[in-house]
Symmetry: C2
Subunit: 252 residues, 2 copies
Amino acid sequence: MKKKIKKINAAILIIGNEILSGRTQEKNVAFISSWLNSECGIAVSEVRIIPDNERIIVKNILILSKNFNYVFTTGGIGPTHDDITAKSISKAFKVKYEYHKEAFLILEKYYGKTKFNDGRKKMAKMPRGAKLIYNPSSAAPGFVTKNVFSLPGVPSILISMIENCKRYLVKGSKIHSKTINLYTVESNISKQLGLIQKKYKKFVEIGSYPFFRLGKIGVAIVTRSNSISKLKSVNKDLLKLINTKKIQILKI
Amino acid sequence: MKKKIKKINAAILIIGNEILSGRTQEKNVAFISSWLNSECGIAVSEVRIIPDNERIIVKNILILSKNFNYVFTTGGIGPTHDDITAKSISKAFKVKYEYHKEAFLILEKYYGKTKFNDGRKKMAKMPRGAKLIYNPSSAAPGFVTKNVFSLPGVPSILISMIENCKRYLVKGSKIHSKTINLYTVESNISKQLGLIQKKYKKFVEIGSYPFFRLGKIGVAIVTRSNSISKLKSVNKDLLKLINTKKIQILKI
């Protein structure tokens, strides 16, 4: 019996002026995408980076949460005035922005009653009904509101929390991929590659990416598919092309 | 006489499955944003990362080119089947997708007549009326269609071309910024920082970013404004706060 392929997608919404201004190099997209792909069979279909602006956050949350199965936000859940993700999501979904009881207790225990000041208390304020994403490195939890997962912007903290998203996610069919690195230039194979892509149109996605290594020019051919058998067929066709053209494969 | 502040903004549209899948770390946003800020007084207000899909590229080009003064696309201008940026922009603006005479001559000269194959010729196809962005490192030019600037995805090539965008850009007022690095935690200053932000609401943007250095926790306070005098005032207020709280400033 054929296994039915279950496609589940997600969008990532990066919230933060520091990324838009170029001050900070964005690092969470590659990590979240790889994790969703390999651990959950979920494909990231769009990413947006937007400023710390309530009106803009609200608008994007509404659009993305409607168009994709899941949305992952990063940034804006700390204690300062520019951390407005929780408040904006509350506004987007028209639910109250209030203390989450369990988050409040977690943070109070972590900081101790005397050091649990207003800034820190703010990190316990969330959209009503939010579910917690536990944070093993710095206590302040992320949260899930409808299909929106809110994580912090600091990469090391985000990485430590991502496993705790799993319980809330419906898994999709794994996306398999294979990379062949070739010592050639793109234009040497572009025509035939286009024909192979056409043949496997709806089943396999073929990407071609030039690289430079040890002074030599090469091309990485990446094939991605939900179906292992289709992936095998397309790679057979690719090897035929590589042999015909007498192209050297680079083993890494 | 007061100098009038001229605000000009831009969006960046990253086109490429390899970024969305997490295979490749995105590196162009920080470079383009910093360059636009410092060289042209242009602020990047939104970034989107989308797949190599014509329908999706067309939709995003139309939205972003309408909502922002400029749009910068990266990726999808090479010789392979997954390079569909030029064709998609032609479709978005309803202009012919055809050989650009000068681009054709540049590429023919670079590769030599015998090695100028179909894949390479494809890199000379652009939306009718496009203006060229010369490429000093690998010849294939980028192009400007209306307010949309199309650049390659390979960071080293993009960097070598960016200066050649300048002639087509109207400059805005420079965005000045100042960073103070503090040995403290965000929650220690979050309340007062919020009040200072409120005071300078429309003129200065204050960002607060935690960092970890040599085993110590710190906060970078970044202030950004078109007005130098407003930036000076806000930093005076910040220094007052820092002195009152007896916080150590980290000189870098």
